[in-house]
Structures are given as C-alpha cells and as structure tokens.
Symmetry: C2
Amino acid sequence: MTENRLERRKARTRAALVRAAQEFIADGKLNAPILEITQSADVGMGSFYNHFQTKEELFHAALEDALDTFGQVLDSLTGDLDDTAHVFAQSFRLTGRLHRRLPELSKVLLHNGFELTRSGKGLAPRARRDIESALAAGRFTVADPELALTIVAGSVLALGQLLHAQPDRDDAAATDQIAEDLLRMLGVPADEARDISRRALPSVAGSDVA
Amino acid sequence: MTENRLERRKARTRAALVRAAQEFIADGKLNAPILEITQSADVGMGSFYNHFQTKEELFHAALEDALDTFGQVLDSLTGDLDDTAHVFAQSFRLTGRLHRRLPELSKVLLHNGFELTRSGKGLAPRARRDIESALAAGRFTVADPELALTIVAGSVLALGQLLHAQPDRDDAAATDQIAEDLLRMLGVPADEARDISRRALPSVAGSDVA
C-alpha cells in the first residue's frame, strides 16, 4: 500500500513536470532553465532528476505525451468511419495542420522527429495500425508497411519544415495534396486518392492539444 | 589582380577547412575542437572565423559540399539514360545506399536534413530538376512538384533513420522498395514502378564520396 502510494506520488510529480514542459514548449520558452520549469510544476529540483536526466529528455517526454493525447483525439474522430483509407487520410490531414496551429510543438517535433517515428506512443503506432488495417481490408497495397510508414513519417516532418520555411503557403492545401500523393503511394487509385483527401474534416477545436 | 589573388587565397582556405571537416565527419569525430580542425587544415584559428561562425556551420558546409560532389557523380551516371523516371529512380536508389556506406556523413545529414532539403546545392535541386523533367515528359503526374520533392526528401531522411535503427535490415532492398513506392506516388503505374526500381545499378565505387 505504501509502495502504491509512493508510486502514485511519483507519477503525479512526473505528470506535473510533463504538463509544465508542455506549457513552456507552447510558449516557445525552450531555453528556460530547469529550475524555472520545476518551480512552475511546483516540484523540487531533486524530483526532476528522479525522472529525467536532462531538459531535452523532459521535452521529449512532453512532446510524446502531447502527441499521444492528439492521437486519442484522432482516434475518437475516426471511430465512425467505415473506409480504412479514409481513416488514414483524415488523421494525416489533421496531423499536418498541427504544424501551423501549434508551431512551437511542431518545432520540438522536427527537432526530435526521427526518434519519435520509432516511439511506441503517440502518432507513429497509430499510423502503423491504420496502414495495416487498410492493407488487411485490401484498400492499400504496399510490400512493406514499415517502409510505407517511413515515407509517411518523413513526409509529415518534411511538410512541417516546408510550412515553417514558407509562411505564406496554404497549410491545409499543402497537407491535403501530400495526403493525396501518399494515398497513391499506398496503392489507392489516383481519382479516389483525390476524392478521399478532399472530404470535409471534423473539428478538433475542443481538444486540449489542437 | 591583388584582389583576385586574395580572393583565390580565401577560397583555398575555405576549401581546406571544408575538406578537413569532411575527414572529421567521416571519422565520426564530430566533437573535435575547432583548433584541431584548423590544424588539420593547416590554417590559423583567425582564418576559421573569417569563413564560419561556428563548427556547426563548417560541418553544414562540408556536408553540402560532399552532397554536391555526390550529386555530380549521380549526374554523370544518368547522362545516358533516356527515361526520366529511370533517371530519378537510379539517383534515389544510389542516394539511399549512402546511409550505410557513409554512416557518419549520413548522421550529419540527418542532423541537418530539413535545412538541406531547401539548399540550392547538393541533392535537393537535382531531385527537383529530375522530378520536373519527368513531369514535362509526361512520366510523372503530380499536382505540385515541390510537395512531391518534400515527400521524397522526407523519405530519404526517414529511411536513413530506419537503417541506423535497424542495422540488420537490408539497406539496398529497403531503398529500392521505397523508390518503388515513391514512383507510384509520382504517378507511375505499379508494375512499371516495380520494374524501374529493380534495374541494375551502375557502380559508384571510384568516386570520392561513395
């Protein structure tokens, strides 16, 4: 029991640090000293080092947690869709729109991107699941789903870089065009790829992260 | 005349620094102090700061220069090919193989990757040129070549990350499969995409960079 209580307290401390780090990221305060983050989280410096070795590690965990929350939102929005290709495309299109909506989070994502594509949390495992569902349903045709996921993940990151470098580019149009191109890559016929990547999107306005 | 001589000397100094940095990169000595690099290049510390503000800037220039040299090799190897889709695929397949052949260069590439996709030197402008040639020839069908290039560039980088994370994966097979998937993305029919991405590759063994 005591051990359980200790575990719960540790989990709360970690969650407080992660939440504080997410706020620092959202505010673009990536250079804030650890002390400032622990003060904002209302935990001691020693507690920080019980959970993380460096600030980078905390920011990585904060990003992973934010992407996991966003992934849960994406999942709730695709629950009613029957077409597995539509599921993949809708989640991709909403993800691409994050770069401009949450630019600071996006920059941390670009900084950590390639590691996160291998994370067991967040968006990569969900994209993998969606690609595999569409393969099983015969909607996608690719020889190696992991390589298809590699192309998708690289595209999300390179899209973010492009959107930050070209602030005048329409992010929704660019994201939807890349979704269309990726659907062709995944084996969807060109006319269908276009149609699927232009459907009305649900709103994510109510969520914590977008 | 004197000014020309001064310019030539400055160019020689810069080239010596870039060459030295390429050797440090190849040896994985990314943490070497600037002094060690200038000594290896046989130039003074002051000369370094005439050309570069930081070591990162020098490494970035060294990488850009190495990729430009590799790009010239790729160009020499595609000179005889008639099919623009084949030109694109061959260069992509040789580029994907760089990650394992030159792992340290690849890691610097992954570190600098997204900026380099916007560089006017190296591989990005060549990939853009090849995509536009294939579009003009009616071999590729994409709505926005810059977005197609974004997918291609992101894929090269994410492929490198995958190959470093999975040392047992066959890099040639993975690269060729991604080339095939990207050809479909670019509008090439599936059977042709497969054929083009499996053709015999010329050797690049004699070159400086591969």
